[in-house]
Amino acid sequence: MKKRGVGIGCTWYGTGYGNGFPDVSSAFLEIHDDGSATVLTGAIDVGQGSSTVYAQIVAEELGLKPEDITVVTGDTDVAPDSGTTAATRQTYNTGNAVLRAVRQAKGKLQAYAARTFSCTTPEGIELKDGYIGVKGDPSRRMPLGEMVSTARLQGERFISAESFTAQTTPVNMENGQGAPYWPYAFGCQAAEVEVDTETGIVRVLKIVAAHDVGKAINPTQVEGQIAGGVAQGLGYALLEQVELKEGKIQNPALSSYLIPTALDVPEIESIIIEETESSGPYGAKGLGEPAMLPVVAAVINAIDDAVGVRITSLPATPEKILAALAEKEPERR
């Protein structure tokens, strides 16, 4: 018989290296005299899309389009160290470094532009839609490239180097007290599953995933991280296991170490929650890792809801489910 159940999982995740370890990101930036810019960081885009986030940050600050920005990463001869692409830290940490860098160069440009436009303060200078000019006075503006180009002929360069360091403290090794991580990301996911009580097979029918990311700099990529995390979490909950025998891996192949296929991952509904994190770029904090956590619990809890058995060791294989059912209903044996 096939029985359905629903379950939820709520999780939290402290981002960054944490525990007072120096968590530093750096960025170099240059604004070119045609109204484009290049930013260099050591932060490697491993597929999650960090480089696009940096292009967006620079574009946002300079009033340009992301495609006007070149992001150079991962070449140690040219880019500064920005730490590991890990710990859900690259949007927050390197994002902050890039934001600081672009604001530093932009500040110089604003000061230059303020003189040009006889504006009393650099803060009165706005960069928008490819133009630089006086806020609220459309008559006083010019294309950004033109301003940079003019400045260039007068020996002005708009380049910058900046770093950002996350704030944490080490925990006390006697009692664990301290502020080991900042910021924390939160997520909650709900799963609906169908359990076949004869075969123990679990089919996941739907996942709803809500994640607090502070601010979604790129919502499409946030959804991408959520869906990818859900798929990995489903693999962890139901399928994957490195089988060891006296320390030797028994299934070192993708035909025996099974990850989910397109038919194993259900429809995923992503919900983005934005509880601003004031220390993050535009209020953003990370999502990469947290995305895979709640689904694991949601599925285990949904199995219990469906057939009344509590699986306490991952993965929740059909064998474990049938064995648990048999224990619950001895007449099934």
Partner: protein
Amino acid sequence: MDYFRPLSIEEALGLAQQPGRLFLAGGTDLSLHMREGRINPLGLIDLGKIAELKEIRLEGEWLEIGSMTTFYDLGQSDLIRKQAKALWQACQTMGSPQIRHQATIGGNLGNCSPAADGLPPLLALGAEVELVSARGRERVLLADLLKRTPLLESGTLIKGFLIPLQGWDSGFAKLGRRQALAIARLSTAFALKRQDGVALEVRAAFGAVGRRAFLSEPLAQSLSGRVLNESWLEDAVKGSQNAVAEALGSRASAPYKRVAVGGVVRQALKTMLGGGNHDGD
């Protein structure tokens, strides 16, 4: 290693006279076994250019399937869907689209993995196998062939399969660890000849329980000549569980499979008898 691309069966058989040469069908398993060093043939005889081996056709009272027919071609064939439903069903879920495009039904038998998806349906459908070699031709019931060791004498080519057309319904289901790219952990095919709500004759086949796919005669006997109703279905489920328990003996997978086969059999029978999918509460 030598590599041959014969254009006819005769040429292929001639090439196979030399020792150490293997017939190459789709190659999805053979090429892997070679890379892993499990086999080291002196020569490969690629059957891919012999058009005659790729045909599906009705011939009198028989449905003939060439050994080099791919799972994809079988799964697309109206003839197979109408005349050999269980086989058609097995072809929809075997491997992945890429594998189905390449793997052949003859290779499935020649490789003879315990989990070969094509064999339980062919067994249930009462298929015969046509073998050819330099020694001549032979037609043998698949069920009998699967009892031979080794399965094939060297130099023997599987020419094709012949399925008798005697009005059998059939159904297939399998159990894998995931929904695609899943090696069958258990598969079953049932065939049934019925009249006025009575199961005149039944065949029941199982795969991935033991060394090779097999037909369960006692189960078939116990289900034949009875009215098709709920208790027949439950007896089929229970009988399958007994058959699988017996076949697996003390294997580690036995405690799970001997129970789980119930659900798989139920699924195969439902698709065969109609009535749609049943859902719980």
